[in-house]
Point group: C2
Chain length 340, copies 2
């Protein structure tokens, strides 16, 4: 593969190369990359912004993360924060810092992933910068979305007896990470050993290439539903439940038998020698949506074509209860779920 050094193009060469990939799609994009600031507008009442940073060695390991997936994931992580407010993201700004060990083609890979995400989710890249780093790759992304007052789902508006729901299924992202780390260690000790990862495709894909759940927001929209509370699962189900619980000043009761857990979670947890509930309750980077709504609204929903699962309800008493399959109540205390 061709390798072009970064200094062959220079900072402005890099910026021009990036810009040429991206086109303005949104009518709300007045001015994209190229001036001191991006300019956007909206006919909505509110502007939503969120920003996240991903750092090599902390948030990702390039020895098993394709750069294209990384660019894609950076965008997903941020879009998810706007969807979890029940709004749609429109624009992103990306800051990238790269050491000289990266080639221009490597930067292209990252931006190809970013562009893939932008095209898929109808997002305009409107700003950011590219600079040097001493060691490794550092990326930050800011996302901007718009919405009307009545449409927003907050963390602190869950109501007593609200049905707690979660999108997708749980535990895959964490198990995918454990598989990748295990295979990396094997490879370090025996570089000739080429792992067959096909068996782990679903969990690895969830870890490397999560999808922000725009389809869930579309479903709410078409069903005229505004969840009383919502959050995206970045730090694990247990931790996010505690966020809503603390913010809304409520307790909750969830049921293990209702949790959306695919059969491979059990077998793979066994293979990896961990408790499957660790992956399900504490596994981060799911980017699934956790939300709540009144029972009567929930009962009217047709869930045939959407992967939404009711897992419990919020309670007036402040207890945070997980009811195990054996009927035993587990206290998910303020520190989240701890190995029991």
């Amino acid at each position: 593969m061709k390798r072009t050094e970064i200094n062959e193009l220079g900072e402005f060469g890099i910026i021009n190369r990036i810009n040429s990939k991206f086109r303005k799609n949104h009518k709300t994009t007045i001015l994209g990359i190229g001036d001191d600031a991006a300019i956007t507008n909206t006919d909505k009442e509110l502007i939503l912004t969120s920003s996240d940073m991903l750092i090599e060695g902390i948030h990702f390991d390039l020895s098993y993360t394709p750069l294209k997936h990384l660019g894609y994931k950076l965008v997903m992580v941020n879009l998810s924060d706007i969807f979890s407010m029940n709004c749609y993201p429109n624009h992103i700004l990306i800051n990238l810092a790269i050491s000289n060990k990266f080639s221009v083609e490597a930067i292209d890979e990252i931006y190809d992933g970013i562009k893939y995400a932008c095209d898929e989710y109808n997002i305009d890249l409107v700003g950011g910068d590219t600079s040097s780093s001493i060691s490794g790759l550092i990326m930050s992304c800011t996302v901007i979305g718009y919405g009307d007052k009545k449409q927003i789902s907050y963390r602190d508006k869950a109501k007593v007896d609200d049905i707690i729901c979660v999108s997708g299924n749980l535990g895959r992202a964490y198990l995918g990470l454990l598989v990748l780390q295990r295979e990396k260690n094997k490879f370090i000790h025996d570089p000739k050993n080429q792992p067959d990862l096909s068996k782990y495709k679903k969990v690895i894909e969830k870890q490397l290439r999560p999808k922000a759940r725009k389809d869930i927001i579309d479903f709410f929209n078409s069903n005229k539903i505004i969840p009383n509370s919502m959050i995206d699962i970045s730090d694990g189900l247990s931790s996010e439940l505690l966020h809503i619980s603390n913010s809304s000043d409520l307790g909750f009761k969830i049921f293990e038998e209702k949790l959306p857990i695919e059969s491979e979670i059990y077998s793979l947890s066994k293979e990896l020698n961990i408790d499957y509930m660790e992956a399900v309750l504490s596994g981060g980077e799911e980017y699934e949506l956790l939300f709540s709504m009144p029972l009567d609204k929930f009962e009217n929903l047709n869930l045939d074509k959407i992967d939404i699962t009711p897992i419990g309800h919020f309670t007036k008493n402040k207890k945070r209860i997980l009811v195990q399959k054996d009927g035993k109540n587990i206290d998910l205390n303020t520190k989240g779920w701890i190995h029991f």
Copy 2:
């Protein structure tokens, strides 16, 4: 000084500690830190956003940069991008990544600087995150401002015969950096040698603690001036002039004798053995404003109380000329000013 380890507080402890420092000031701040996204609103037509990253070892050197100044500068660098569009910034989001070598008190110092900047410029901190880094300190800031269509100054709207003006004076930030680097080297070789930096106070202050030029935008406002073009000087006068020149498809002629250069720039350049024009034309991190307006508007301005200096004009022919004091014309070509 007390040292509290980061893991004594934990991620949420840190976030709470930061939040407790900041209050909502703007009526446009609907929701600050604490949910998945910040929520703001505006009665202006347009939303302006910009984002920058500062990385230890690339953009700053902690051996001579006080953390409080660093937090302040991070905000200034970003605010400057909104002022340079002739608008006012309202909100910022900050992402911080820190290694364990930093104490909680060190994080406090950074946020004290950020808070000082927010208070001085009437800015609300509304979002961001704090995470770990493997090595050193990484900070990114996103700034949000609002404005009306007619008020914006772009890079690409300079007109033929526009008077080119610059705020403040030039060359200090770069010389300040050179002094700090020289003293650091001296200190490495002779740690007992405590430098007397009082002589260099102004250039060092400009480097470590630049000020975004809100006062210039206030001046435009009170004089009902909207510059035809404007940019902030982050990469040096020459480079920024070329940006406007390229974007507006014009040439320019500027005059050395008109450039705002304080006498210490000459003496200090000599002491540091560099050409003073290197500091003046190519010295970055000035965060002064470079802008243009028609001659008749310029002539009506009372510049007694504001440090704005006319330095030349834009031309129909595409030449980029610096007229030296000796009358010789220098071509500031596409690569900016090169040592001549």
